[in-house]
Symmetry: C2
Subunit: 349 residues, 2 copies
Amino acid sequence: MDLTERKLKILHAIVADFIHSAEPVGSRTLSKKYDLGISPATIRNEMSDLEELGYLTHPHTSAGRVPSDKAYRLYVNHLMERYELPEEEKRIISENLKSDMMELERTIEHAAELLSRLTNLTSFAITPKQDANRLKYINLLPVDDTTVVLMIVAENGKVTNQALRISVSYTPENLELLSKVMTHTFRGRTISDVLTVDIIKYFENDIEAMSRLAQSIMPNFMNTLENMLNVDLYLEGLTNIFSIPEYNDIERARMFLEMVNRKKDFMDVLINRDNGMIITIGDENTDEIMRDCSLITADYRINGKLVGKLGVIGPTRMKYDEVTSVIRYMTDNLSRTFQIAKGEHEDDE
Amino acid sequence: MDLTERKLKILHAIVADFIHSAEPVGSRTLSKKYDLGISPATIRNEMSDLEELGYLTHPHTSAGRVPSDKAYRLYVNHLMERYELPEEEKRIISENLKSDMMELERTIEHAAELLSRLTNLTSFAITPKQDANRLKYINLLPVDDTTVVLMIVAENGKVTNQALRISVSYTPENLELLSKVMTHTFRGRTISDVLTVDIIKYFENDIEAMSRLAQSIMPNFMNTLENMLNVDLYLEGLTNIFSIPEYNDIERARMFLEMVNRKKDFMDVLINRDNGMIITIGDENTDEIMRDCSLITADYRINGKLVGKLGVIGPTRMKYDEVTSVIRYMTDNLSRTFQIAKGEHEDDE
DNA sequence: GGTTAGCACTCACCTTTAATGAGTGCTAAC
DNA sequence: GTTAGCACTCATTAAAGGTGAGTGCTAACC
């Protein structure tokens, strides 16, 4: 790994050039375009060494050199310079990501859209896993004879509701009482916690009518809780890949779109990534079908804890410096937005 | 339009063949494959006539004939035979579309997915416009000092909620009272109706505290109502177009995907279509960019009134008989599912 | 007069061939 | 160690020729 200063310089130039041109870069153009102070022949010798070391490859004998995944990794870790976002973009991001009223979903969707626009890549965002989220409030409301609405409010402000059709008859008072009992019983417990419990037994000792009502509502309650655990995925800028030379091949474009459209699988990959800004390049992706993509994810926090993710996926040849800057700026912004929301309304806990 | 029996027979054969093969069809293959009882030369003469009448075109002099949009129209209106769905498919549809508990959104999304799977086309579904939907129930619930949850239940069972952060202080009793007043005031009115009203004035004469609370909640109330009006769009099977020869051209595939991904515009087109099973072929589409697609939509009903839509979009060369059968079977199923739901729970109105 | 066989003609498509040029690897001289 | 020079490679493009599916037209047939 101890490359000479000169080799690093050459490698840097090759990666930077290839990222912009998408064309294999040759010794001649390199010596002309970049002020390296050495002749093409010398560059050729160095490139030959770099190839032997696994940093470059050759599409065919008479073509220029192309960076390998290893080269991109070196570039990202050591060579790439910090890219300062233009004020204009900063402004756009800040203005678009202020959330007036805790509308998490809308804000996140918006963020994904913005990210794809600024990077010209396919972007995505997921909402946080809710498993550490605690219940705060459970409410049952009468709608008509056979329909009640179940509403669950969590500590982080997430509200979920579902209309239930039940066969047991009830009175509004029954419902209200049951709401109170349920709130009292489950308040402060996490969703996943409640889901693992044999819930019916809590209520079997209550008076007959209440117990039957409770039993008819509980399965739905569990079901709704399960749905609350679901992570939402927002995908934006899908058609951006058509502007990328690497995907000018119909078969590759198809593979790419099919991969990200297999939402269930794609989400699994995202959810299981570590927190922080994570960049995986080509081969480094454990998923076979992502092997010629780079995936960049970063997380944003809500109330300092619950973590959602935001990022892009594209060809290994991407503007890592710009993209990471945009993502970082956006996740910082999101975290700050939601942090403030917390500060303002959760002092009472 | 009074084509001879024989011309119709030939045209039918050409359309049917082309729909399956996607290749221009020539006189020789036609006479071999279909039992028309006439020689290729005669067929050529007839085809020449049909071309003159605008039913066929010629990609180039030495190619076979290709049906025009006009031919497809004739085929759809008069030639195509009723296609009976295989029992297997009927079973799949019925089993997948039973909705246990009025989860409209989930069921509709599911339907779109199923439709794309059965037709190998890109499918879509939209939820009904809510503008005729009447309010039934408005509820405000305290969460903490600065947060309340606003919940709105409509007559058709749709429930919407939103967490609001308000700056005015309140008591639970205030909230409850306000809920009752709002429910009393707006119950039975349609959403769009309420939206066009100067709502604040309803409350300005109430006692001071209530009025301020009401004023701080009303903008959010309106906002939530507006969101209730939104129609959801579910798009499925996007990558199916890659299996269609017509879209083997990267530029066309891109155009197609960009068109359907411009959700706002695409939804407008869908919403503004007439009800019933509507087929528009190529040129017949008013939208420039859909000019080489066919769009098929049908509607499903909820409680016999509110109408959502379901359909597919693909190349003009599509299996109209099969696709229309699938769609019809699905919309019938959906309407029936939701109809039953109505019968069961809305007798009290 | 409608139908058909025959034949010249067209044109997309494929293969072959040749020219071009960007780029390399190697060698020998600086 | 660096560089100039040169032979060599190979993707890419253009031109040329061959192939075959299909047409349009004409003249003969029923």
